[in-house]
Each structure stands twice: as structure tokens, then as C-alpha cells.
Point group: C2
Chain length 180, copies 2
């Protein structure tokens, strides 16, 4: 009578394909999640309750992970943005290394393929705070070196898009890439 692992399969966010309505709703909600169901409805051609039902399902299945307020980093004194490559001896990915994801300065933490092991996106108040974080990273056993790419200017930064949101350069009717 317990909940078996297989039972959750459909909540993984990759089952139950999304139709055109769902994708359209996602696009609208990514842009502005404060829109009313009524407005969403008339945008996609559905009634408000129908929209509500779909959005609820999108949240339940995990297609919508959360709806968040995106705040201006400058407003909270997080002026410095940097990407930090972390190289380790051996297979890295130790619990100690993963634990540095707990620091509030770390916004992203990925294992990557390439000439480095781990990649961090880090936002701090200033260079001094970044230095402090790097010091803590070097304290982790196995860490050999780090390479930091300090961001000089951010030209674009947006959340995950459901599909082609911004204007798509070539308006030819979704033609597949040319292959001969």
C-alpha cells in the first residue's frame, strides 16, 4: 500500500507531452506569472477554468518548478558576478565539494565535461567577498585550482524558455536545417 517509486514516474516532468496550449501558457507565464487566468485564457483561446486546470497540472507534473520573483542583483548589493571553474584531483564530486553549493553566493553548480570538473556561477557583493569564497573552495580537499571569469557586463539573462520566445531571425516556416 506504500507509494512505490514507479508510481511517481508521471510526476517527473518529462511524461505527458505538452500540447500547443501548454507551451503557449508556459511562454506567457515565464514572461509574467502575475497574469490572471482570464487573460491567459483569451490569449490562448481557452476559458479561465480550463487554463487553471492546465496550469495546475503543469505545476503538479513539475513542468513549472516554481514561480519566483526575479530580483535585481544591484538592489541587494550583489554587484559582482563570476563563473568559477574548479579543477580537482581525481573524480572530484565529493560530498565536501558539493557542500559548497550551500553557500548563498553560489547560484549554480554543475559538473561539466571539458578541461575542468565543476563550474560555479557565483554572485557576491564585491571582489573581496569573491576572494573569501575562493578561499573556502580551496579548503576543500582535492581542489587543485580554480579559474574565475569575472563578468564585466551582462548583455542578456533570462529564465528557461519553452521555445522560440524572442524574434526568430529567419521567418521561413520552421524549415528544418538544410541538409544535402
Amino acid at each position: 500500500m506504500g507509494l512505490e517509486t514507479d508510481d511517481v514516474r508521471q510526476n517527473d516532468g518529462r511524461t505527458r507531452e505538452l500540447d500547443a496550449f501548454d507551451r503557449k501558457l508556459l511562454g506567457l507565464l515565464v514572461e509574467d506569472a502575475t497574469r490572471s487566468y482570464a487573460e491567459l485564457g483569451e490569449q490562448v483561446g481557452l476559458s479561465a477554468p480550463a487554463v487553471h486546470e492546465r496550469v495546475k497540472r503543469l505545476k503538479r507534473t513539475g513542468a513549472i518548478r516554481q514561480t519566483a520573483a526575479l530580483i535585481n542583483p544591484a538592489a541587494v548589493q550583489k554587484t559582482l558576478l563570476a563563473f568559477v571553474h574548479v579543477d580537482t584531483s581525481g573524480w572530484g564530486k565529493t560530498p565536501e565539494l558539493l557542500a559548497i553549493g550551500k553557500y548563498p553566493e553560489v547560484e549554480e553548480m554543475h559538473s561539466v565535461a571539458g578541461d575542468t570538473c565543476m563550474l560555479l556561477k557565483v554572485r557576491t557583493k564585491d571582489s573581496r567577498a569573491l576572494e573569501g569564497l575562493l578561499a573556502r573552495i580551496y579548503d576543500v580537499p582535492g581542489v587543485i585550482r580554480t579559474r574565475s571569469y569575472v563578468v564585466l557586463s551582462t548583455h542578456m539573462e533570462r529564465p528557461v524558455q519553452p521555445a522560440n520566445t524572442s524574434e526568430w531571425p529567419a521567418p521561413r516556416q520552421h524549415a528544418p536545417p538544410p541538409q544535402r
Copy 2:
């Protein structure tokens, strides 16, 4: 009687410091922007209208840039995540290079200091789509080479935090990094 540029100064998002209430509200809204003003009020110890007033100001001043639905990349077939370093001859940052931020696959685009010029965060359906994007990048005049770091697993990814959200490991009073 026109609106001079100086008049908008206070809407830049860095003026008018945030007090403890504002920061607390930001933290709650980053977690879940669907909370009602009443709930926010009792969380921070304010009445609902007062909260509404503050949130409205936070949006007006740009501290809250937008409230968005964060969607699961897998749900929209964006399985592959990669960070692409773009090296250019000379000072790069040409209009043609900046234009590749228009592609929907590109989520972030930063000028960085370091051994590379531009850094992209890119999300595509598969490696073939990434290849297509790289081809378009190489078409940009001035682009010498690219280095791609394909993400194997994402251990953490969260929006901009107003302050220390997660539990703070070392409660020693912000000790400076050891230097000898």
C-alpha cells in the same frame, strides 16, 4: 516640463535602501511569488496593505524585475545545457556578436575578464542543436574559437537570492580569508 534623465534616477533599483522588511519580503517572493499579501504580512509582521505598498514599490524601483514561472527544462525538451566561451580577435563585442543573444537557445550572455571574451549559457534539445548554434557563432566575423563546457549534471540552480537564504555553514563572524 519634459522628463529629464536625472528624474528617473530613483527608479534605477539601487537608490532607496531596502530595510529588513523589504529583504524579508524579497526572500519570500523569490521562493514563491504566488503567496498572498496576507500571508506575506503575517510572515514579516505587517498588514496586507502595507505589504502591498512595499511590493509595489519594489517593482516600481526595479528591485523586482519580473515575476516568472521557472520551468523544468526537461519538460520542454531542452535536455542539453552548455557554457560556451567565445574568443574573438580584438575587442569583440561587435553588434554581430551581441546579436547571437537573440537566439532562443541562449539564456545568458556576458562579457568576461579572463582568457576569453564572451561567455554564453546555452540550452538546447540535443548535441546536434548545439552544433548548429556553434556553427552560427563561428559565422560571426571576428570569432576565432569557442570552448564548450557541456553540463553532465546540475547540482544546484536557483534565482538571485537577496541574502543568505540557505543555512549558513560557518557562523564565525565573517572572518577574512587566510592570507600570509
